[in-house]
């Protein structure tokens, strides 16, 4: 068992594991809503748009995590608002304005980072740096989980109604607009927490892979909600171990492990997997052939 416990002799690994578990669970739980509401593109754009906020905060206020957190938050809100303004005031559709703003803000982030007086490693923000978590980082991750998880659990019923069909939900009295804004807010918060683990480029992986996996295995929303959290947590921790043992980049390993779990479900899920679909088709063919022969 020493291969399992050995990594924990290092304090940075203990921190990283704690961070991974929290970030994985929070993002995994949220992923049910991203997948069902088809917000993947939106989430990706928002993740990328965190970068200029981080960079600007770095230049103006220095490297403290709290500064970076507020910078990212403001950047995400500005880009979200910009998307609404551009698509609302011109004939440009929402996905186009989203794509445009995301590319521009990401580029702006890269330029700002290169101008930063402090010597920063850009790859930490692009691909994550979970092994370098400070106490402040851990506190931010913990506080974000303390906000996101209880809100998701408390509002899961009205959110489920909203996911299923917004107009029916509204007719039942679900406050559709405030709930949508809340969901966006929670999305930004949990993305900021995953910034440390996997970075802005890979954040989307943690935000969709867990629920997409369960979506192929179950017809229950509750399974997607809780199962997404559990898969997110276990997958992230497993990715961390893999990166430690094989000495590979941690963010990429986390997303790859989640991807492997997804593809396993895609192939072998008993309900909606490719293999069972193929076998069922074969089975149906045999049955109809037998019926035909009986005649």
């Amino acid at each position: 068992m020493s291969w399992l416990t050995e990594p924990f002799r290092h304090e940075f690994m203990q921190r990283a594991l704690f961070g991974c578990a929290l970030i994985g669970f929070t993002n995994g739980m949220l992923s049910a809503f991203i997948v069902l509401r088809r917000l993947a593109l939106m989430a990706d754009a928002m993740a990328h748009s965190l970068l200029p906020g981080v960079a600007l905060a770095l230049i103006l206020f220095g490297l403290a995590p709290a500064n970076l957190f507020f910078g990212a938050l403001v950047a995400a809100l500005l880009v979200g608002l910009g998307v609404q303004i551009i698509s609302g005031s011109s004939r440009i559709k929402e996905d186009t304005s989203l794509g445009l703003l995301f590319a521009c803000s990401f580029s702006l982030g890269l330029v700002l980072l290169s101008l930063s007086p402090a010597r920063v490693n850009v790859t930490h923000y692009l691909f994550g740096n979970i092994l370098g978590l400070s106490d402040d980082d851990l506190w931010i991750i913990y506080l974000i989980s303390c906000i996101v998880l209880p809100l998701l659990v408390a509002f899961q019923r009205p959110l489920l109604l909203l996911m299923f069909e917004p107009s029916v939900a509204a007719s039942q009295g679900v406050p559709v607009r405030p709930l949508t804004y809340m969901l966006m807010g929670l999305l930004v918060l949990s993305m900021i927490s995953s910034l440390q683990a996997v970075g802005v480029v890979l954040a989307l992986g943690m935000l969709i892979a867990p629920a997409a996996t369960i979506y192929l295995c179950s017809d229950s929303f509750a399974a997607m909600f809780w199962g997404g959290g559990i898969i997110g947590m276990l997958g992230s921790c497993a990715g961390l171990f893999v990166s430690y043992w094989l000495n590979l980049p941690s963010g990429a390993c986390i997303v790859l492990v989640l991807g492997v779990i997804f593809f396993a479900a895609y192939l072998f899920s008993p309900n909606y997997g490719m293999l069972s679909k193929f076998l069922r088709r074969h089975h149906l063919h045999e049955e109809s052939l037998a019926r035909w022969r009986e005649r």
Partner: protein
């Protein structure tokens, strides 16, 4: 009701009673869906009131259930027929209360009334079109709704499914509910509905099927009508009722 200040539905004044099956007839773009959405509060009314159960109705109400067209629903959603019916109870429970025995009982009753208890554990895309419509009706029943607004419930159903759904909505009306369904197949109106609303931007006619369902009202409703943006009756700024 108006979209971008162009009136979509206006001059509609109706007195509907519970216990009836009402057809909402009109060509495409006549404002049938808008009419429903205004009743449940999804589209703001420019002017006008809805009096429901003796009091003015503001916003959403669990007494009124709206069933959208089948095409707007994501039928791959991870939920079984029972799960969908359970959703009808959610707003009654609020945020903290548990889904209790009384709720489970209400869901069972709704499924039994609609005749779907054998299919309750199926994922909703594994139901046929008619069964999907009836599952939605069961959800509204579990919600304790008394008014059912159905947007084109018969579209895409074969004859057997149509008969079964027709039977279901008539029995809902017989039990004291009000069912209003937008409908396209004029041939089946007399057998399915006992009252008819003719709508084309404004109310053309409303009454018992035997009295108002005639060639004159049909041709008045379905004639080609292009709205120029200038209201015929008013010279002042556009306003819809």
């Amino acid at each position: 009701m108006a979209y971008h200040r162009v009136p979509a539905v206006h001059h509609v004044s109706l007195d509907l009673q519970c216990g009836h099956c009402v057809a909402l007839l009109g060509p495409n773009g006549a404002g049938k869906t808008t009419f429903f959405k205004a009743v449940v509060g999804l589209v703001p009314k420019e002017t006008g009131v809805i009096i429901f159960g003796g009091h003015g109705k503001v916003g959403a109400d669990t007494d009124i259930a709206y069933l959208p067209q089948r095409s707007v629903i994501d039928w791959d959603f991870p939920v079984t027929a029972r799960g969908m019916v359970e959703m009808g109870r959610y707003m009654r429970l609020g945020i903290w209360r548990r889904f209790g025995k009384a709720d489970a009982q209400a869901v069972d009753n709704a499924l039994r009334t609609i005749g779907l208890n054998d299919l309750a554990e199926r994922q909703i895309s594994a139901l046929s079109g008619g069964q999907q419509q009836r599952a939605f009706l069961a959800r509204s029943l579990a919600q304790n709704a008394h008014v059912f607004l159905l947007d084109e419930p018969f579209t895409g159903l074969d004859q057997t499914a149509q008969n079964l759904l027709g039977e279901t909505i008539r029995s809902l009306a017989a039990a004291g509910n009000l069912v209003i369904a937008s409908h396209h197949d004029l041939k089946s109106v007399p057998e399915l509905f006992d009252q008819v609303i003719f709508l084309n931007g404004e109310l053309i006619a409303f009454g018992e099927t035997g009295e108002v369902f005639n060639d004159e009202n049909i041709s008045r409703t379905y004639r080609t009508r292009i709205f120029s943006g200038v209201h015929e009756h008013h010279s002042g700024p556009e306003k819809s009722t």
